[in-house]
């Protein structure tokens, strides 16, 4: 025990001055060049200018990374939990130290307002590492289970151990690059798994910066490997690699289907997914209207609508519908669309041209389908991918803008007559990541919360996500939960050990006891 303790203090932190921009692959604790000369550009969504040319991991590179993770697994999975906890805590410390650089790059690569990156994305991400650090040291316990047969002499020991699954392939999206990195990596390494993580080709840069910090934090080589690349290439290679034991994916429903299929075909790998779609919010007539408006507005327009749990279907009681719409319009117009570097900026551009086109297509579709365009609907400015905060009213449930994920600053408002009707309509979807209700009545609020079929229900709030609140989807919105204690289950196998405790002497003693009428 003392030796292990010494091990935890032995790794001294090295001083790092700057956090350099990095474009190579991070494998086995080193930045290395990819093999076959492929690369891609990542650009600034405010002006479409290239920020950096980034190396894409090909098949051989993925193989190298997975093998590094595989080599690292034995040592890491058997290291003391206290050591894993200290690595995670040091990583959080280093993120704290490099807060500004990480936030600036996150904002530059993704387009999100710098103030949000600084106040939300980076602090939240580092809090996730600290939270899971606390689980690593002796808290991943199994159960001891009393088992017996009708036969009183049968005697067993039965207990459960929780053991890390192995090498995890993790694929994360571009909307919250650092946060998604932390949701995936922290529980996996806390549990004793090793990882190969692929960042999004739209936002690869902060993930690579994390490579420097992972190394400095003292993670042994191969525990965390970071690759850049596209889904159909790098992602596919990771998912299909025979030495990957588990796949974790966050992204779109369509891609998730491909991931599940590939994982099934390549050895029935364990898969967890966190997907999005069309989270409903029900605003009752007894709601605090200002509170409800904040919920609806922040729920949808946060991160320019590029959030998997965005409150994109807002059901409003007809009794307050007009008032709500009037306030929503006023509030949408208060959004400040300008440079993400400006402290005033509340909404940045969407992430890239592809996303811009997709959102604009949905806006024209909404108009064609007969919804009322209350505000927005146009490009903001002449360069970059800003889209005016957009609200459609008089939206019907069967319109595509009410059914499909737009992933942009487009709110759809729907009217309802009775609460029962609203619940049925809110649940009439194959997805179920989030849902919400605004009402001041304790009975109504909580009863509806219990009737909505989604992984997270917000009552008079939205976007409250903490390191310890489990997050994930009902139905097609996902498999498993991230964050909280639950996320550890994604990275741990449970082993039940059953031992027959009967032994020879016992029988002899029993026989002797019987013969003499029992010793006791």
């Amino acid at each position: 025990m003392a030796n292990e303790m010494n091990g935890t203090v032995a790794v001294e932190s090295l001083p790092v001055s700057g956090l350099p921009l990095e474009t190579r692959l991070f494998i086995d604790n080193e930045f290395v060049d990819e093999h076959d000369g492929t690369h891609f550009d990542t650009s600034d969504p405010t002006n479409a200018k290239v920020i950096a040319r980034v190396q894409e991991a090909g098949k051989d590179d993925v193989d190298r990374a997975v093998k590094a993770a595989s080599r690292a697994f034995e040592g890491w999975s058997q290291s003391s939990g206290a050591f894993r906890a200290q690595c995670l805590n040091r990583l959080a410390d280093l993120m704290d130290k490099h807060m500004d650089q990480l936030a600036e790059m996150e904002s530059l690569d993704n387009g999100k307002p710098l103030t949000k990156a600084k106040e939300i994305d980076v602090p939240f991400s580092l809090a996730v590492y600290r939270y899971y650090a606390g689980w690593a040291d002796g808290k991943l316990d199994g159960k001891q289970i009393p088992i017996s047969a009708g036969n009183a002499s049968a005697n067993w020991l039965c207990y459960q151990r929780r053991e890390p699954i192995g090498v995890c392939g993790q694929i994360i999206p571009w909307n919250f690059p650092l946060a998604m990195f932390s949701w995936k990596v922290a529980p996996a390494v806390a549990a004793g798994c090793t990882v190969v993580i692929k960042t999004s080709e739209k936002t690869p840069l902060t993930g690579l910066m994390m490579g420097h910090l992972c190394k400095e934090a003292g993670f042994p080589p191969g525990v965390i490997n970071i690759l850049s690349g596209h889904g159909p290439t790098t992602g596919e290679y990771i998912v299909r690699h025979p030495m990957v034991d588990k796949v974790a994916f966050t992204g779109s429903v369509d891609t998730a289907q491909k991931v599940l299929l590939a994982a099934a075909q390549s050895g029935m790998k364990k898969v967890t997914t966190e997907l999005g779609r069309k989270s409903p919010l029900i605003v009752c007539k007894d709601a605090d209207l200002d509170q409800a408006l904040t919920v609806a507005h922040e729920g949808l327009f946060f991160n320019a609508g590029q959030s998997c749990i965005a409150s994109s279907r807002v059901f409003v009681d007809e009794a307050i519908y007009d008032k709500f719409v009037e306030k929503a319009l006023k509030r949408a117009k208060e959004e400040k669309l300008c440079s993400p570097n400006s402290p005033e900026c509340t909404q940045g551009p969407v992430v890239d041209m592809k996303q811009f086109d997709r959102v604009m297509n949905y806006i024209s579709l909404g108009k064609q389908e007969g919804a009322t365009l209350l505000t927005g609907g146009t490009r903001h400015g002449t360069q970059g991918y800003w889209i005016e905060p957009t609200i459609f009213t008089d939206v019907k449930d069967d319109m595509r803008i009410a059914k499909e994920e737009i992933f942009g600053p487009v709110m759809t408002v729907l009217k309802f007559k009775t609460l029962e009707e609203a619940i049925v309509r809110a649940n009439a979807t194959s997805y179920g990541l989030g849902a919400g209700i605004c009402s001041r009545d304790i009975g109504r609020a909580l009863s509806v919360a219990h009737k909505l079929r989604a992984g997270t229900i917000y009552v008079n709030c939205w976007n409250v996500v903490k390191p310890n609140t489990p997050f994930g989807g009902y139905k097609q919105s996902g498999v498993g939960r991230e964050l909280g204690e639950d996320a550890l289950d994604n990275y741990l196998e449970k082993k039940t050990v059953i031992v027959d405790l009967s032994y020879e002497d016992e029988k002899d003693e029993k026989a002797a006891g019987d013969a003499t009428g029992g010793p006791n």
Binding site: A82, G138, G443, G513
Partner: protein, 525 residues
């Protein structure tokens, strides 16, 4: 500086090598350690985030049990000081208990980091004040104390309740929250001062309680030194208060203080009984107790004898037998009895007696002269009762100084002898012979205590069957003293109330609140 009591015989090689490597590790660590910014010796009271003199300006002296030299003059708290400390803890409670668990967590993590940074000063003072070998202090006490603080830091943002499905759960919401008990009075012993400090402080802080800690009057210095680190770690004033002085005055004042919600005590069963009664009378205060023991270890014929001897010796003699969980009753099956005795005698005799500050020392002095007298009385009693002395049995000294007692083994002990029934708290092992497993289990359990127990056997079925039948809070199989912050520790029967360490260690510091709401509502139609 030190002497080897007897040369180790051939059978002993493996265990003495083991000790030698342990010692070597300690030496290496001492050599490589760097003395950082100094942590001053401290003898004042720590109240409301400040070091203060006692209100009556009374002091007492604490001495090095190895030399008798004065270590420090320490401020002696009286009733008024206790009241001040409780008032500070009470003032601190609302903010601290409602603080984000992450804030409490980070304070604990910083405290652990600071203890690690000052491990040399703390280990040295721990060794000087308590007499324990510095190698032990540095490689066992301090790392375990730091580990416990870190372990509970990790809990601070995970104090979860449950949701409870009621029978009519369609129209109800029921959930539980775990809320901190309040101001806790904590009384710790002298055998592991810093370790006991951390076992008490970790869970109390993680759950959001505030504390008034009383260190033992025999070993008050390291706890007082921690006040500096607590302050530096960012604990708000009043969250942790540390007092030194007589147990009776401080303990009774805490127990009877209306603003103290809970008492946690580690020490003797006699004191524990008194405290429990007093807590009941003083408003049914919550109380957790970790008390004495007479822990049995059963060695079966099929045991790996090297393993068994190591478990018995480390279990009984580590910290000079001054462990509540010491393996003081060894039940050995007839087939290996003589061989076990031979080896355990050699092992005991090979423990290096010396100055605690010598890195090679395995066996230091007892805490004080009174302790030596108690041990001598038990040894004389054992002789009279007919037990057979295998080794040790005498008090001794190093360079003519100190309250040392040789590691002592008695064989042919019967269960009704005083050395078999009563806690000696010294390096005295009593070895008993048995024939059948049932007999051994019955005799092992025939005690008012139930802190620890153990079994040595290579048979997996026997091992766990016996483990299940032993009445003790911790059962060791083929090992002893395997302490870990994650493993609950505490006693069956008169060895205690509640558990320390592990998730279970949080329970005595929380109240469980069940919230039940009717969530039916009138439909609008």
């Amino acid at each position: 500086m030190h002497r080897r009591a007897h040369a180790g015989a051939s059978r002993l090689r493996s265990s003495s090598r083991l000790q030698a490597s342990r010692v070597a590790e300690g030496v290496a660590k001492t050599a490589s350690s760097v003395r950082l910014s100094g942590l001053p010796t401290e003898g004042r009271l720590f109240i409301d985030g400040e070091f203060v003199e006692s209100s009556a300006l009374e002091t007492f002296k604490t001495h090095d049990p190895a030399t008798g030299d004065l270590i420090a003059t320490v401020q002696q708290a009286n009733e008024e000081d206790v009241n001040k400390a409780v008032a500070a803890a009470k003032r601190a409670f609302p903010n601290w208990s409602q603080a984000d668990g992450r804030f409490r967590r980070d304070c604990l993590y910083r405290l652990a980091d600071l203890m690690e940074r000052h491990i040399d000063e703390l280990a040295e003072m721990e060794s000087r004040d308590s007499g324990k070998p510095i190698t032990e202090a540095k490689t066992v006490d301090l790392p375990l104390a730091i580990e416990a603080i870190r372990y509970y830091a990790g809990w601070a943002d995970k104090i979860q309740g449950d949701t409870i499905p009621l029978s009519n759960h369609h129209s109800t919401l029921a959930y539980s929250t775990r809320e901190p008990v309040g101001v806790c009075g904590q009384l710790i012993p002298w055998n592991f001062p810093l370790l006991m400090f951390s076992w008490k402080t970790g869970p109390a802080m993680a759950t959001g309680c505030t504390t008034v800690m009383k260190a033992s009057q025999k070993t008050p210095v390291t706890a007082a030194m921690l006040g500096h680190l607590i302050k530096e770690a960012g604990f708000p004033p009043g969250v942790i208060n540390i007092l030194q002085g007589p147990g009776r005055v401080i303990g009774d004042t805490l127990i009877n203080h209306p603003d103290v919600a809970k008492i946690a005590y580690t020490g003797s069963t006699a004191q524990g009984r008194r405290i429990m009664r007093a807590c009941a009378e003083a408003g049914m205060k919550r109380v957790s107790l970790e008390l004495g023991g007479k822990s049995p270890l059963i060695v079966l014929d099929d045991a790996d004898l090297d393993q068994a001897v190591k478990a018995a010796c480390q279990g009984c003699f580590s910290n000079m037998g001054q462990c509540c969980i010491a393996s003081t009753r060894i039940y050995v099956q007839a087939g290996v009895y003589d061989e076990f005795l031979r080896r355990v005698g050699e092992c005991a005799a090979a423990r290096t007696i010396g100055s605690p500050l010598d890195a090679a020392t395995v066996h230091g002095p007892q805490i004080g002269e009174k302790q030596i007298e108690t041990i001598l009385a038990y040894v004389e009693g054992a002789h009279k009762d007919g037990a057979r002395l295998i080794c040790g049995g005498k008090k001794t000294s190093v360079d003519g100084k100190g309250h040392y007692f040789e590691p002592t083994v008695f064989a042919d002990v019967s269960d009704d002898m005083a050395i078999s029934e009563e806690e000696i708290f010294g390096p005295v092992m009593s070895v008993h012979k048995f024939k059948t497993v049932d007999e051994a289990v019955e005799r092992a359990n025939a005690s008012q205590y139930g802190l620890g127990a153990g079994v040595c056997t290579r048979d997996v079925g026997k091992a766990h069957s016996i483990a299940r039948r032993l009445q003790a809070g911790t059962v060791y199989i083929n090992t002893w003293n395997q302490l870990d912050a994650a493993a609950p520790f505490g006693g069956f029967k008169q060895s205690g109330q509640h558990r320390e360490l592990g998730e279970a260690g949080l329970e005595p510091y929380t109240e469980l609140k069940t919230v039940v709401a009717d969530i039916s509502y009138r439909s609008e139609q």
